[in-house]
Each structure stands twice: as C-alpha cells, then as structure tokens.
Point group: C2
Chain length 209, copies 2
C-alpha cells in the first residue's frame, strides 16, 4: 500500500472511524512497522513503558467484545484492536535501553552509568500513583502517534476508553498489577466516514503569561 506523507491531511483530517471494511486485514509485519514508527514518540527518561497487545483473531476479539462498553462495532469490524498497556515495572528494561544507546554510540558508558544510577532507584521508589501517571502519559503520547502513523499507512482508528479496565490484562495473559491498560485503539480500513466533531477556539482555554 502506498504511503500518505501529507502531514496536514493525516493530522487534521483524522477522525474517529467506527465502521471498517471487514475484508481488509493488516499483516503482522505491517502492524509491527506501524508500532515501531509510533515509538519515535518521546517518553520520560526514554523508558518506553508502552506495551502492545494486538487482538486480531476472531476468537480473541470475541473475548474482548464483552469488555468493551460502547464501541462493539469497532471490535466487530476492525482489522485489529490494539490494546495499549503501561508497564508498572518498566524500569526492568532500563539497562537494556541504556546499553543499546552506548552500543550505538549515542551515549558514553559514563553517562549511562550515572543516569541509570539515578533513574532506576527513582523509578523503583515511585508510589503506584506516581508510576500510574508516568506510564499513562507516555503511553498516550505513543497512542496519538500510532493514530497518525496508521493514517500514513492508509488506515483509520478510533481511540476507546470505555472498557473493563480491571479485566483487560488477565484476559490476555498479563499480570494486572504490572500491566495497566491505558487505551484501546481500533484500526482498519474505513468503511464509513469518521465522526464530525467540533473543537473549542484555542483562546477559550489558553492564557499567556
């Protein structure tokens, strides 16, 4: 599929699409490519706490259906439902990430050691609430970029927040204390046009100082 590279079209014409063409599937290769492209999004101390579960089979979508409150049509027709979780133990990836930065010549071993010595204990000492906030913010950044990247691939999305959050992780074999659901994004080829919705004028909610 040829890529769309028109920033204005991708970004300003993105709308939430509820009904997808059920004949159009997305290969695992392309899905991983879209996820990879989404992760140029930034994260706090580059810890990349986002974790993805791509629900694409009919069987697994059927398990998801009762956990979604209002957006069952998206589950029924999309190529995939992308579950985005935040990892409360994301710091377990810290050494790997910072070692890779050194291996690729983007960081000196001294800076790595200094930063890891500060970051890992800091993250381990977070309260559950503090870590919740960090992983929800970081995972939402990657979610927004994923929605735009999907459009560059010719697909559309719908971000979904209404689901049984306490059941999502375990339904897909994840420890619910560690993996906190942030958002579900349906993705596929649009069959019906997306929602038209209005936005407030920027000066209604912006002040200058």
């Amino acid at each position: 599929m040829s890529k769309n590279n028109d920033f204005s079209d991708i970004t300003y014409n993105r709308k939430s699409v509820r009904v997808y063409d059920q004949k159009v599937k997305i290969s695992r290769e392309e899905m991983l490519e879209m996820i990879q492209e989404s992760t140029t999004a930034p994260s706090s101390v580059n810890m990349q706490p986002w974790r993805f579960v791509v629900v694409e089979s009919e069987e697994e979508k059927a398990k998801l259906r009762p956990l979604i409150r209002f957006n069952k049509k998206q589950n029924d027709t999309s190529a995939a439902m992308v579950l985005i979780f935040g990892d409360m133990k994301c710091y377990k990836y810290g050494e790997e990430i910072y070692n890779r930065a050194v291996a690729e010549g983007k960081m000196s071993p001294e800076v790595r050691d200094e930063q890891l010595a500060a970051i890992i204990p800091h993250y381990k000492n977070f309260t559950r609430q503090e870590m919740n906030d960090v992983i929800k913010i970081d995972s939402s950044l990657v979610a927004m970029q994923f929605m735009l990247v999907a459009r560059s691939h010719g697909y559309d999305t719908n971000p979904i927040g209404g689901f049984e959050a306490d059941q999502l992780a375990e339904t897909y074999g994840l420890n619910k204390d560690r993996y906190v659901p942030v958002m579900i994004v349906s993705v596929g080829k649009a069959e019906e046009a997306g929602d038209n919705s209005i936005r407030l004028e920027a000066d209604r909610f912006t002040t200058f100082a």
Copy 2:
C-alpha cells in the same frame, strides 16, 4: 514562515531539543494557531479537558525556573514554555461543546440531550483518581500532536515531566485542585541538534492474539 508538510520528516525526525535560538520568538497569533491545530486530537466524549498556559515573558519564565528540576536550559532559551494542565471540572464546558456541535449541524438536538444527560452525571461522579486518568490521557494526546504541529511550523520542542507539580497551577493563578499539571513543552527554534536516543524493537513489547 513556510510550513513543512512532510509527515515522515516531521514525525520520525522529531527529537527533544534542549537549546533554542533566543532571538526567535513566536507571535501569540501563531501560538494560538498551533494550539488550535493540536486540538484536532481526540478526547474522551470530546470533552477537550486540556488547558494551556503559554509562559513567554522573561518575568514569568523567571518564576517558572525554580519549579523545573533538570531542564532549566530549555526554560532559559525557548521562545515559550507551554504548560499543559488537565481540568478536573472539564464537564463545565460540556453544554457549550455539545451546543456548538448542534449549531454547526454535526449533531441533532436529540442526540445532544441524550448524550449530555449520560455524560455530565458520569463525569461529575468520577472519583478524583478516575478524572485524573482521563484528563492526563487526553492532555497527553494533544501534547503529542502539539509537538508535531510545532515542527510543521519550523519549531522544535522538549516534553518535560520533572517539575514541582504541586506549585505549578498556583504560580500562574490557577486553582490547584481543579487544574492538574500534565506536562510542560518547551518550544522554539532549535539552536543545537536534538537528542539522539534509541528505541526498542517493536517485537520486544508487542504480542499478537
């Protein structure tokens, strides 16, 4: 300034920029335009809970400086520090938003009435934790889009999470119980190249079901 419309360049070459050209300011008109363009981002039930405070004067930046833990260079050199808050009472804008949708022919009065009757009590009944999560997720979506929109305008950004969250609202005249800080984004013309940082391979944190 001519716009960049190259999605791949804007999105995949975005890096956190720490040092900006201090001679380059951003007009309030252009800043509002960038914020407006950012808000095509989606939000839960279209409640648009994001609130922006653009700190651009030397005097107000001087007040911000001690509240920022590690990124003082960005505060010192950027054209502006954009404070993004989430509004714990965002439902107060509900009627205005849904009335606008009806006025613009995007929603029938019946759908408006039905949706507001469900949404407003639901939002009012949220626990503080539940509302915290919704506004942090929604405000992060708009923050990501703002970082990309800024690049389309020829600027660069740095998302900043290390600040004295309990002091940020009141320093800028906002009620701290209502306005919860989510992120600060520095913005300006890059003077030094942004950070090079690595990303994990997508298949390290993605599973298919």
